[in-house]
Amino acid sequence: MSSHILSLLIFIPAAGALLMLIGHRFISGNEASEDSGKTADFHKWIAAVFTGFQLLLSVWLWLSYVPNGGIQFQEHHAWIQSFNIEYFLGVDGLSLPLIVLTALLSFIGVVSSWNIKKSVLGYFSLLLLLDTAMMGVFCSLDFFLFYVFWELMLLPMYFLIGIWGGPQRMYAAIKFFLYTLLGSVLMLLAMLALYFYTEPHSFNLIAMIQSGAAIRDTFWGMDIRMLIFVALFIGFAIKVPIVPFHTWLPLAHVEAPTAVSVILAGVLLKMGTYGLLRINYPLLPDQVYIFAWSIALLGVINIIWGALNAIAQIDLKKMVAYSSVSHMGYVLLGMAAVVSTSAAGSQAGINGAVMQMFNHGTITAMLFLLVGVIYEKVHHRYIFFPKDYKDPELAGKLAFGGLAGQLPIYSGFVALAFFAGLGLPALSGFISEAMCFIGGFSVFRTLTIIGTLGILLNAIYFLRSYMHIFLGPVSNAYKGLKDMNGRELLTIVPLAIIVIALGVYPKLMLDVISPTMNSLIKLVQSMAMMVGIN
């Protein structure tokens, strides 16, 4: 049982999707009526039960994981012998938090989509397929397998945005698809190059790391190691997204339905930084040294640029989307600190980066869920109405105001999420952001000092939008609003608990990730020495 737990974790949602497709025919009869109540309920419950089971499994995985035990729960089978492709799964301290995050957000995504009306079968089966793909990415230790899962995410995401999204959904869907595909095809070439440089040829990431140092070649006068690093980096950077590859993100977020935004921001963005840490760092450590300053610079640009954009937004969801760009910048800054000569600095940076990945996942999920809650109630999410709003009387005016008195529970959770987002101490975001800055400061002083401005900018847009929405006199239009219901609370409360718990007691998370990440730091630093940089 335990040796197949990762396969189980990956394919449970896919099995659920299959069951839905089969069950649909039996329940609705042959003439498929467009989702009567009974079939819709069936699909929802299947999705909830399967993702719920996956969540329980992932928690069990967390509990039985031994922090100092290296890669665990391995599964190793030959898949395509002629190309030496393996079905190789495993978990370590880097992937474990993200696996739990994926399972959690998938379950929450299903619960928060309970009111979906349009093609329920399609929606939930695609959501489950997406879940399978995401889980596969985090569990794979074979580059080819990783790539297959990586690409498998695109198709369900395309449909989820394209069918169930907002008015500009088609443009947003194809833009997302094209951007990420552009990144991943470059990754494909880098992957093939690495395969042929590995002796004996293999996609096994462990084997690749072992022979990574031996790659010495030039192409048109350029170091092949640098070319591979850059190709991989662009692929992952688009996913993060690193400015200037970020333009797909606000659009996709604004158009996507709530649950998809949650998963997009909560899980998919992490794949970019996960890929960098999983593949670029151990494979080409000397290039990490060469590019560390650039990564830190890009991180700081992300922090500032994302925050400045967020300040300029009048659409709450777009503001949250840009805040993600800003928050992912902290991860990059922390990651760049791997080159720090002080052990404390590099450890704080890398561990902080991984923690920030998890924390941002939970915080941004809360933010998007809360935006979704208000959107469902009032069918818009403007802080200010735009100047060309359809109702000229409202155009340019303040949209909300004084909701705190109307929706006390809601405004409380929003306050928690906003404060977590701006990095208030005792909430999880503070710990990881501080660690990223500590790490960054030990190497890149000036950059980090500029980066800390981001905290201030974050505070500006979060506090200002909170003021505009919840404080002041309440407008008559929103007098009769009801507060959050039980289902909505079910999605928010677990996240809130995690945010507070990790803010007060970050050791819970650090104990799991730090052994793995500290050995990654050692690996990178010693391998870089071996290759001859540093």
């Binding site: 898949w79 395509i80 690409e151 498998l152 552009l182 095809v185 070439l189 042929f196």
Partner: protein, 481 residues
């Protein structure tokens, strides 16, 4: 081997010829006329049975003009599968209802026979016979079989003109080769060329020969016929032309270039660098095909341009001299057979049931026929080359050849960027099918034969992307010529 003793190794082809005759004769007997398609299909099936018995034989037949070898054997299966389903599906194509089907079936079988010849030809005369006489001439008629359709007439005429032009160039190239070496057989020419002192003359011959083959695989700049012929021909014929003659074109191209313009130690002959030429043509072909496909509104025409791009991808591997390159092209052709013909069957379905031709007509098709619509998504995914699908595996092998050689990295980059471009137009079809609501949401049902054919071609298009070891094992056995 002498003519007489060769017959024992030529039974599949002979059975095909008999089938052709039978179809023609049956056409003349009033009571039996309607059974002609059964005879045609049965002929193909039994040819397959005979072919199956042939496996593993490597003989040079008919005084060295035709080879029976594993390489040809592999391609013959592609032709048989394509031919079988084309005949089957044609009967259920509404647009072909007025056409004279016995004649049509006979012509199609002649083309299949010609393709057999092309894949196994080892002499300049048989190359020409196979390519022009037995494949091209009946194809011209098939393209124009809808006598009252102006587009079909246009297709036929364009096909003839471009075909005649490029085969003229090719024959001229053959005459250079003959003049340089004094031999008609491919192996004789190779030996003769080894001592040739005029690289310019040889380069000329290569260019001219490439014109003829390039026409068959619709390589830029010999592609001009492709969109109009594909659009005007009856759709089953379009599907067939986009796969089978293209496969045969690649078969002859690989055999010719590897056994004539390549020395036995895998270097280009007499130092003439035709590899860079192929690399350039590959880049131009895929880029051109994809960029023009972007602007198409007619689904069939879009697929036609995209088939030009696919030829470009395959040429990419041929710019590298290695056995892996041949293998990669064969893998790609196998995958391409399933995904491309599947897509054309879907076009037939849309034309039959909804008279849908443009993307506008396709809007909401996924909602009207969810199952087939989902299959079409898999086919489009496969044609784009997204994992897990057959098309991705095909591309994987092509790119692997280029990357492994460490030679044309730029070509690999052009190739992947083209894949991204192709996503845009393939997903325009997906978008039309699924992201729009249909004007009339009434479900449509496919003709069972068409629906089943789509399913039968989609299953490998997906499964071969997940597990393709059997195909690789088959191809590994089929590389020698």
């Amino acid at each position: 081997m002498s003519n007489f003793s060769s017959i024992a190794f030529y039974l599949p082809e002979l059975l095909l010829v008999l089938t052709i005759l039978a179809v023609i004769v049956v056409d003349l007997i009033p009571g039996l006329k309607r059974f002609n398609w059964i005879i045609a299909l049965a002929g193909i099936v039994f040819t397959g049975v005979l072919l199956y018995g042939d496996s593993g034989v490597s003989e040079s037949l008919y005084l060295g003009t035709i080879a029976s070898d594993p390489f040809a054997y592999f391609f013959k299966w592609i032709f048989l599968i394509a031919g079988f389903f084309t005949i089957l599906v044609s009967r259920h194509t509404h647009a072909l209802r007025g056409a004279d089907l016995p004649e049509y079936n006979a012509l199609l079988l002649i083309v299949v026979f010609g393709l057999f010849l092309m894949a196994s030809a080892t002499n300049l005369v048989t190359v020409y016979l196979g390519m022009i006489e037995t494949v091209s001439l009946p194809s011209y008629v098939l393209a124009g079989i809808l006598k009252n359709d102006r587009k079909s007439n246009e297709a036929s005429l364009k096909y003839v003109i471009f075909g005649a032009f490029s085969s003229g160039l090719m024959v001229y190239g053959f005459s250079w080769l003959y003049g340089l070496t004094g031999s008609m057989s491919l192996s004789g020419i190779q030996q003769g060329l080894a001592g040739v002192q005029e690289p310019l003359a040889l380069y000329m011959a290569i260019l001219l020969v490439l014109a003829g083959f390039g026409y068959k695989i619709s390589m830029v700049p010999f592609h001009f016929w492709t969109p109009d012929v594909y659009e005007g021909s009856p759709t089953p014929i379009t599907g067939f032309l986009s796969v089978a003659p293209k496969a045969a074109g690649f078969a002859i191209l690989m055999r010719f270039f590897y056994s004539v313009f390549t020395t036995n130690s895998l270097t280009t002959i007499a130092g003439v660098d035709w590899l860079t030429l192929i690399a350039l043509l590959s880049a131009v072909t895929m880029t051109f095909g994809n960029l023009i496909a972007l602007q198409q509104e007619n689904v069939k025409r879009m697929l036609a341009f995209s088939s030009i791009a696919h030829a470009g991808y395959m040429l990419m591997a041929l710019s590298i001299l290695s056995p892996d390159a041949i293998k990669a092209v064969m893998v790609y052709l196998t995958m391409y057979l399933f995904m491309n013909m599947g897509a054309f069957f879907m076009v037939i379905f849309a034309e039959n049931q909804l008279n849908a031709h443009t993307l506008e007509d396709w809007k909401g098709l996924g909602r009207k026929a969810p199952f087939l619509g989902a299959l079409m998504v898999i086919l489009m995914m496969s044609l784009t080359g997204l994992p897990p699908s057959a098309g991705f595996v095909g591309k994987l092998y092509l790119f692997a050849v280029v990357i492994a050689s460490k030679k044309f990295y730029w070509l690999a980059i052009v190739g992947v960027l083209n894949s991204v471009v192709s996503l845009f137009y393939y997903f325009r079809i997906v978008k039309a099918m699924w992201l729009f609501s249909p004007a009339d949401p009434k479900p449509v049902k496919a003709d069972s034969v068409i629906g089943l054919s789509i399913l039968l071609f989609t299953i490998p298009a997906l499964l071969l992307g997940i597990y393709w070891t059997p195909i690789i094992n088959l191809i590994d056995k089929s590389i020698g010529f």
